[in-house]
Amino acid sequence: MPAVVERELWVENRLGLHARPVAKITALAQSFEAEVTLEKDGEVADARDLLAILALDCPQGTRLVLKATGPQAREAAMTIASLFARKFGET
């Protein structure tokens, strides 16, 4: 059983997870050797999957749980978490 890295994320930018922030998330997720998922109220989306994340429907204030496994799980989790913390470069 590989170790799972778990993190709590909050959508803090004003417009929520619309196309542009999600594009950034998928790009990052694809750049690591890790399986990353985002989970909202029990619904799970692959972090490499743009449409699946959009479909999670995350306006500002949404809480998500990130789970990462694989050789670069920690790095992937940290980088994506910091993207959320910087509000994807938005307001």
Partner: protein
């Protein structure tokens, strides 16, 4: 084909053009084939991958070649590139070919339907709307797979009017290289992508024209009138001449209006007025400059409270307000405090839904009850006032008591700020929104408690005439020129004038060029409206004399019924300002929500 056939659509971008049609039709029907051998499957997957690669290359090239004036739309192409390789579309199609032995078209179609179904459940309408981008990519792929390519680059040589079911961003961006005279689409409304693109290219567009791609054929000569939404097929010579002349008139009118938007709005007998913008978000400051507003007459502040699931902090509010106030200084920014009801409010406040929210706990009533929320907002507004010219106004005032209480709270927040040595404008004017009939009747008393009035016509008309304009059964009884409304406006203006405080008007009535001369005649000297309506409003004001407007208003006030007033005003406006009537209203309302 019969001559002079008239079709009616929705006007989406003003302007008139006569030209030849270029029709773009949909991709063909989707066929289903079953794949029997592993070799078939492998070939089908290979074919699909190849098509995706082709389209990927095309979109990438398109993105790099995109012309300067459409650069801002480049991110849409980036999004399409991502969707193209998205797992739910790309991987799923490959999987369906492999596991279900489906041909590529059918597999893609099934994958697309699944995405579509998922998106229908999304609550946020902006995100839900992204399905349009998925559809564009889907159509592009499907066109290539079926061989009936609906998305090959536009290749016509002659300038043409584009006719299509709908236009995607990728399609419209390709058009910058060819000369497009105008757009006609079957789908879409005033705020559709086609409308927005047509505006930025300043070409006419008619949308929502049913069966346009069936009625019109490539090569047909058509007249496109983006002002009225009329499309005329195969017009005869005399009709063409009429429209050529109309086109010339419109172009002259438009250039004059645009030229005049930066100039002050002074009546032709010398009365200076203020034409202000209604805004909702800091991003709209750019529009305030673009359309020549003298300031902001109504800054709606609900957005931050509705958008997020937690209450906005003082700092978040302050940053928003400061951004607007600072950018616009020394112009006035009129901030309306929270105009929201307990029921519509966030889930962390426990208010039951109301039977009659328009008459319920909302606006100033709500704020005086939820003082903590109100104080936070007042504090943010006061802090922002140190960076420019701020006015504050309370919505839904119905008694002097509410003004008193609001002002007392404001004073106590000022004390706190003073104690903490945080700067603010100590002289910040405090106004009352006049939108409840009770406030009209008490206007003379309210002048003792308010530094200015702003008449909110949307609510005032609704309350005065007891009309809910969302209710289809009675919506046509919602009449801004109702004699009762005109008399109320007169009463408020007179009360303000006697006390020496200014009276502004915000709400849709203030931005409609048809009503402006009457309102001027009633004594309104400050108008606040959707920014895009400003250039036309300024032009109307400059063409009107105060003397004339007063006579106009006096006569209107003598009439007994709203029908008589409507007839009178329409007739007079048509006589005095034929251009405004023909072109000004469509131009002022363009893109208005």
């Amino acid at each position: 084909m019969t001559q002079n056939r008239i079709l009616q659509g929705i006007p989406a971008s003003p302007g008139i053009v006569v030209g030849r049609a270029q029709v773009f039709t949909e991709a063909a029907q989707i066929s289903t084939r079953h794949l029997y051998t592993a070799k078939d499957v492998a070939e089908e997957q290979e074919w699909f991958r190849e098509v995706v690669e082709q389209i990927e290359a095309e979109l990438t090239r398109l993105k790099n070649e995109i012309s300067e004036d459409l650069k801002e739309h480049a991110h849409i192409l980036d999004l399409h590139l991502l969707i193209l390789r998205d797992r739910m579309l790309y991987n799923e199609t490959l999987r369906l070919i492999q596991e279900e032995n489906l041909n590529a078209e059918r597999a893609l179609h099934q994958a697309y339907l699944k995405v579509k179904e998922l998106f229908q459940r999304i609550g946020d309408k902006h995100i839900r709307g992204r399905i349009a981008d998925v559809e564009t990519v889907y159509r592009r792929l499907m066109g290539r797979l079926t061989g009936k390519d609906s998305s090959k680059p536009f290749s016509f040589k002659e300038p043409a009017i584009i006719v299509a079911r709908d236009l995607s961003p990728a399609e419209t961006t390709q058009m910058s290289n060819v000369q497009v005279l105008g757009f006609i689409t079957e789908r879409g409304g005033k705020t559709s992508h086609t409308a927005i693109i047509a505006h930025s290219l300043e070409i006419p567009a008619v949308v929502g024209l049913d069966h346009a791609t069936l009625e019109i054929e490539t090569g047909d000569l058509i007249i496109l009138d983006g002002i009225t939404g009329v499309v005329i097929l195969d017009p005869d010579d005399s009709l063409r001449r009429i429209y050529q002349a109309r086109r010339a008139d419109f172009e002259i009118f438009k250039s004059e209006v645009v030229l005049g938007s930066a100039m002050a709005a002074v009546t032709n007998d010398g009365l200076p007025t203020r034409v202000m913008a209604n805004i909702e978000m800091p991003e709209e400051v750019a529009l305030v400059f673009k359309y020549g507003a003298d300031g902001v007459g109504l800054y709606r502040t609900e957005f931050l409270y509705l958008r997020q699931r937690h209450l906005p902090t003082e700092e978040e509010l302050f940053q928003d307000y400061k951004q607007v106030v600072e950018a616009l200084a020394p112009r006035v920014v009129t901030i309306r405090t929270l105009d929201i009801g307990g029921d519509k409010f966030l889930s962390h406040l426990e208010y039951a839904p109301e039977m009659n929210p328009a008459l319920g706990l909302r606006a100033i009533r709500f704020c005086l009850k939820e003082q903590k929320i109100f104080r936070t907002q007042l504090k943010a507004i006061l802090r922002a006032s140190a960076f420019g010219q701020v006015r504050i106004m309370f919505p839904l005032i119905s008694s002097p008591r509410e003004m008193q209480e609001g002002r007392e709270l404001l004073e106590s927040v000022k004390k706190e700020l003073k104690k903490d040595k945080i700067p603010f404008d100590a002289e910040l004017p405090v106004g009352a929104m006049i939108e409840v009939p009770a406030a009209v009747t008490l206007a003379d008393l309210l002048t003792q408690y308010a530094d200015f009035f702003s008449i909110g016509t949307n609510d005032l008309i609704q309350y005065a005439l007891a009309i809910d304009r969302v209710n289809q059964q009675v919506a046509d009884m919602y009449q801004p020129l109702h004699p009762a409304v005109l008399r109320m406006v007169r009463e408020v203006v007179q009360a303000g004038r006697q006390a020496g405080i200014s009276v502004a008007m915000c709400g849709e009535m203030a931005g409609d060029p048809l009503y402006i001369p009457v309102l001027l005649g009633l004594g309104v000297e400050e108008f606040s409206m959707n920014a895009m309506a400003i250039p036309v409003a300024k032009r109307v004001i400059r063409m009107t004399s105060l003397e004339r407007a007063k006579e106009f208003a006096q006569k209107a006030l003598l009439l007994h019924t709203v029908e008589e007033v409507n007839d009178y005003v329409t007739r007079e406006m048509d006589r005095l300002f034929p251009d405004i009537f023909r072109f000004g209203r469509p131009l002022a309302n363009k893109l208005a929500k």
